[in-house]
């Protein structure tokens, strides 16, 4: 574990706006305690519908979402978001390792798929990549 890498990530990600969508309270609480190291501005949604509404209202840089949620699941939410915004970085954080889901959601256009329980290294790598990409785009704009 490269502490420097993590430190750099922490710095880079501070200013970004995160939309975190997760229906299970336990998962939300425990993941948040890891996410709030990197992001200051975290908006929470408790299901797909809630997440879509929140996205429309706000201007987010990155979305981290679960798949299995009531009302609207993660896949549908991603599709709907993509209808309006092709660019926004979306990372999936899910317990499902079903290949079908994986393919489908990849087609929808996501930056990364992290399996629960979280492998810290993978998480860091994906995050680094995503954050770098976001900052790059911001520089260009």
């Amino acid at each position: 574990m490269d502490i420097e890498k993590i430190e750099k990530l922490t710095q880079d990600s501070q200013s970004l706006k995160l939309l975190y969508v997760e229906d299970n309270q336990q998962a939300r609480e425990s993941t948040l305690s890891a996410l709030d190291i990197f992001f200051q501005d975290i908006t929470i949604a408790v299901d797909g519908e809630d997440g879509l509404n929140a996205f429309r209202k706000g201007n987010f840089d990155i979305i981290i979402t679960d798949i299995n949620m009531p009302k609207m699941n993660g896949i549908d939410m991603v599709y709907k978001i993509r209808e309006v915004d092709e660019d926004v970085t979306i990372i999936v954080l899910s317990a499902y390792d079903d290949k079908m889901y994986c393919d489908e959601i990849t087609r929808a256009g996501i930056s990364g798929y992290i399996l629960k329980p979280i492998d810290l290294n993978k998480f860091i790598d994906i995050m680094v990549e995503a954050v770098d990409r976001i900052l790059q785009k911001k520089k260009k704009a």
Binding site: I3, S30, I37, P70, K71, K116
Partner: protein, 480 residues
């Protein structure tokens, strides 16, 4: 066994009577034979007596009619010869074949014909014709002893008796009267006797034949009985084998059902565990990160580790719940419906909610009763799982499972539209499944019904209401 004895007795009676008939016939035949012989003996004696009288009379007549020397008398007197021969002729018949008179020639051993009763020309001897009898000694004996002599002879024509009657002059034999008569029995007696003889012979043969047939058939019967018995034994063995196979099949069925349930359970456990596990990993990740960045303070560390401990506890409880679920109750325990439902939901609630199915509870029963808790939990789980499966399969909008209790009744409803009428009466049958995928073992409702009705002495009923299927459990709740 009784049949065997009956059969045996019957066979023995049969044998016995056949033997009896045979022995009887043989006895009769022997008796008949003896009687026949006796008849023949007596007949013979009668004939001989008759012939003796006849011959004696003839001899006397001839003696009276002739002078001292019969030969000379008859030689000279042709008329006398004729007269006497006519008398002899009277008695010639089938029985008295030959009647003639001979005397000894003075020279040599020859005999001469003096009188001949034969009617046929070619048979009739000339007077003085020499004659050589076959049984010369007998002739000589009669001549010498001056007493009648008779003997039997047998030739192609049957049995004959030759009777020799000496004709005496002054106490000495001057001539010999010979009568050959047939010993063939009187025609009528003969015929009857031979008829009877024939009949008896036939009945003996028939008796023997019947006896042989009886032996043959009883042998076949014996074999048949043996074949039947061995067949019966084989059949019994087959039946036993089949019963054993069926029992094993049922065992397999029960095993399969348990395994299927266990499989479902395990996937439920996995499901239940995923969240706490990922929560633990997230918590540990956050501790690592905070520590790496030097932002970990004691308060946060304590907070997070407490959370981890809670999550771990949750995992443990889940395991215990599942473990207990599978223990079979040996004795009835006091429970309430509410307890059962809470217990089961503790296992399955997460899964249901994950699938966006609404769970409605109307628990109106606080009554405690005696039954087998784990078995009931399994049934309840099965019913709820079935409802969940059908709601998902039919992709029902606003899927809802309703659980109601009232006194000693528990109902599980779904709003999946109901069970199709043609499946209704088969729904509790083993191996009957409406699930489209191959994972439906079809054993759940069958086992549930068996458990409720046979083990818990209750009832498991099904009907459709306007929204979907309704499964009802009714228990008597008695202590034993």
């Amino acid at each position: 066994m009784r049949e065997k004895i009956k059969n045996l007795r019957f066979i023995y009676i049969f044998y016995f009577s056949a033997v009896l008939v045979l022995v009887g016939t043989l006895t009769i035949y022997t008796l008949f034979g003896e009687t026949k012989n006796y008849i023949e003996e007596v007949t013979q004696k009668i004939y001989i007596q008759d012939t003796q009288d006849l011959a004696y009379n003839f001899a006397e007549m001839i003696a009276n009619e002739t002078g001292k020397n019969i030969y000379i008398n008859l030689k000279e007197d042709e008329n006398l010869r004729e007269k006497l021969e006519k008398n002899l002729q009277l008695f010639i018949s089938k029985r008295y074949r030959y009647i003639y008179v001979v005397d000894k020639a003075p020279k040599g051993q020859n005999y001469r014909f003096l009188l001949d009763g034969s009617k046929k020309v070619e048979e009739k001897s000339d007077f003085g014709e020499f004659y050589e009898p076959l049984h010369v000694t007998k002739f000589q004996e009669a001549y010498k002893s001056a007493h009648p002599v008779y003997f039997t002879q047998e030739n192609a024509h049957g049995v004959w008796i030759t009777f020799l009657q000496p004709i005496l002059k002054d106490g000495k034999t001057d001539a010999l009267l010979v009568v050959d008569f047939s010993m063939q029995g009187h025609k009528l007696i003969d015929n009857s006797l031979s008829e009877l003889d024939g009949v008896l012979k036939i009945s003996i043969y028939v008796g023997i034949f019947i006896f042989i047939i009886i032996v043959f058939f009883s042998y076949i019967d014996h074999k048949r009985v043996k074949v039947l018995e061995s067949f019966k034994d084989k059949l019994e063995m087959r039946v036993r084998q089949e019963v054993e196979k069926n029992r094993q099949k049922e065992q397999q069925l029960i095993e399969q059902s348990r395994l299927a349930q266990m499989g479902e359970m395990i996937s439920m456990i996995a499901h239940q565990w995923r969240q706490p596990l990922s929560a633990i990993s997230s918590a540990s990740a956050s501790i690592s990160l905070k520590a790496m960045l030097g932002k970990l303070d004691n308060e946060t560390a304590l907070e997070i580790s407490t959370a981890i401990s809670d999550y771990a506890q949750h995992l443990s409880t889940t395991i215990d719940d599942f473990r207990n679920f599978f223990k079979s109750n040996k004795e009835k325990q006091e429970i309430t419906y509410t307890e059962l439902i809470e217990n089961v939901l503790g296992i399955i609630e997460v899964s249901i909610e994950n699938k966006n199915i609404k769970l409605v509870k109307h628990l109106h029963s606080n009554k405690s009763f005696y039954s087998y808790p784990n078995e009931l939990k399994q049934v309840l789980l099965n019913l709820i799982k079935n409802a969940e499966d059908i709601l998902l399969e039919k992709k029902v909008e606003n899927p809802t499972i309703t659980i109601e209790t009232d006194e000693n009744i528990l109902r599980v409803r779904d709003n999946a539209g109901g069970i199709p009428p043609d499946s209704m009466h088969k729904i509790f049958d083993p191996y009957f499944s409406t699930k489209l995928d191959k994972n439906g073992t079809g054993l759940g409702l069958y086992m549930s019904k068996t458990i409720i009705e046979e083990h818990c002495h209750g009832k498991l009923l099904v009907k459709n209401d306007e929204e979907g299927a309704v499964f009802t459990i009714v228990l008597d709740g008695k202590k034993d």
